[in-house]
Amino acid sequence: MGRDCFVSGLVNSHAGNMSVRIGDRLLITRRGSMLGRLRPEDLIETGIDRDDSGIALASSEIMTHRAIYAHTAAQAILHTHPPHGVVLSLAQDEIIPIDSEGSYLLRRVPVVVAERTVGSQEMAEAITARLGESALCMLRGHGLFATGRLLEEAYQLSSVFEASARIIYLTKLAGITPIEFRRDSEKYGEW
């Protein structure tokens, strides 16, 4: 899955991270690991809410992962840097897909803001505050946090999100005014 994230352009060489919850432990990718070339030693096990020596090797975003597990029903988290999603997050407070698949699966993705966008408490709080209303949350100018019951579910949602963001981006670039095909689509803003 890490390789898929890299190949599909969701992350660059050493960006992004992922974790799964296993009981009161979590498995998270190693700080500085390459998602496209993950090896067994790149998976670090540590406490879901308590440090042990594994913390020295864990991803720099572990604080956000822990906060998400503490405040949501997530069993897996994937953090990526989807380019079109990042572009839209610079100009919008929410991203509402206009395509069919995105509408079915996402409906609306909130965008949050943090001054310190890597490994900060501020960022963790901003993201967890909005993940109650969506399985995904976009951090402005940084990237996407996606949750799921399984890691593959989080990956699917991330992939759909970037495809939807790209469609919005291309539609704007082409100057197209979309003809609405969805009933009650205006209500996705209140989702």
């Binding site: 009981g23 069993q75 009650d184």
Partner: protein
Amino acid sequence: MTHGWTGSSVLCSLDDGAAERFDRPDLRRDFLGGRGYGVALMAEFGFPARRVMEPAQPFILSAGPLTGTTAPSSGRFAAVGLSPLTGTIFDGNAGGRFGVRLRQAGLDALVLLGCSPEWSVVVIDGRRGRAAPSDVRVVPLRGLWPEIDPLDPGLTSSRTVEGLRGRLGAGFSLVFPSVAGRRGAFLGSLRTDDRRSLGRGGLGAALSAKRVFAVAVAGDHGIDQADPGRFEFLVYEAEKQIAANPVTSRALPEFGTAVLMQIVHQAGALPALNYRTAAWDGVDAICGEAVRDQMTRGRQGCFGCHIRCTRRVETGEGPEYETLWAFGAACGVNDLETIQEANRRCAEFGLDTISLGATIACAMELGEAGVLGRALRFGDGVRLLELVLEAAEGRGFGAELADGPARFAARYGHPELAMHVKGLELPAYDPRGMHGQGLAYATSNRGACHLRGNMLGPELLGIPKMVDRFADRGKSGILVTLQHQAAVFDSACLCKFAGFAFGDELLSRMLGAATGESISERDTQAIGERIWNLERLWNVAAGFSARDDTLPGRILDEPHSQGPSADRAIDLPAMLDEYYRARGWAADGVPVAAKVRMLGLEGQAALLRSRSMDRDVDSSGAGQGWRKEVAAAAADRPAAGRVPEGPQGEGRHLRAV
């Protein structure tokens, strides 16, 4: 103003017929409705360490915030009580109109306490213009229907409905113990007037112990939502999800649940011949395609259901997947007509098809081993039908089967051949081919059950995503999530099949629009977790412990020798260790104080702890009924082969369980 709930429930004393109205908004908020509200009320009124059939034990019928709304597959209600089969806290739920009527009568729940001096019908007339706001009466059966004997085996489900409808008049919906339940069979189900069964756990026997012949309810009040416009939008979105999912839009409508037969078999997870093998060659004759092509005349659904998975066949409702398995693969019978006739008899007499099929399969294995002293072999469909009838009517050798395989196999000195967890028979998914399902069976609060948190989705159907079905690690998280989701669906009163198309996220939004409360996905998971933990606390107070979280020795020690699941042993101890940690429980499987506090269950935990001191005279804990009988049978081998002496007929269900 209360939305989503009526804000009114009734506590009815069957001893004297007194009825009192009450409301517990705190429990509605924390436990939602249906199963959850019922479990919370059980903890308020029940006694975990006393006999399950004691009059003091409550029996609860409850609806949920979505019952009777336009939400897909939402016309459901729950029955919550204690199971004579397992000794655990137990609930069942069904579709049909009863739950809708209960809400239309202005009630969220009915709590029955005590025991009626004679067989009676609890009549709730909540129609406008009647005694306001809802008239609850305990009506003696002899006044209502004097010419019948409630224990007459001929008083089948359809005769019961016909008779009561004629005497109560139009507009009433019914829940009633089946005749097998009235006669005290631990496999005796509850039935509704629209042919739904609350099959498992012997809830029919539990309600019969209160001498309740039926509960009848009529009502015509509206069922409102706090935000009707948003609710309808969300229902529309839910319908889109159901239409877009081939399981809910194609497979279940076209084949019914029988669509699973080939899928499960091809994975090497269809247990056959009392779980001896997963390589049985009769599948093609009883699979979904066979049911569709040879039997199905049409399909039907419960009230408000868009999926409509029930098969209509010439003799009534067709067999579901579990029934096809129980009387088919489990017993080695590959004849659809025989299976359907067994199914029809179970519906009319009110016996749980999974439990009875599993018990007959156990008997067939014992018969082939020469233990029974009588001829009984796998594949003998003629004898199978005779046994179903004997079990239903409580006569002959079949009468020994009506209390499930745990007691039956123990009587014959082979408890290891009973495929059960906590006294409840394993259903139609072999854990050796679906390791996560094994963990689900082992940890289920009501015994081996696929409806408490079904790993069928992630292990075979790819819902939400496919996982390695043989993996022993990393499944506790998804299982816990699914157990909570099942508890919430049972409490909102939504059919779990809708859960194949959408999950907690959409459900929480519908609940919010219906009730006007702010309910997030996290909140629904917390409600599910609260329900699960309270059920667990009840069972602990009743004497259950981590040693009951296990699987039959055959599953753990006898891997299949052939087929897709060959040589795949389950590491259950490792799975349980991870599971307990995922739940925040101690290593002995008991919720720790911090977890109890986090879920706001301190009051219930203290009450259950104090009541666990309130024991029966034999002081060994009510929750251990089946284990006590199994131990007694093992210690008393000369008695093997005989039905235990005891009161027959009406008093039979007052045995020490």
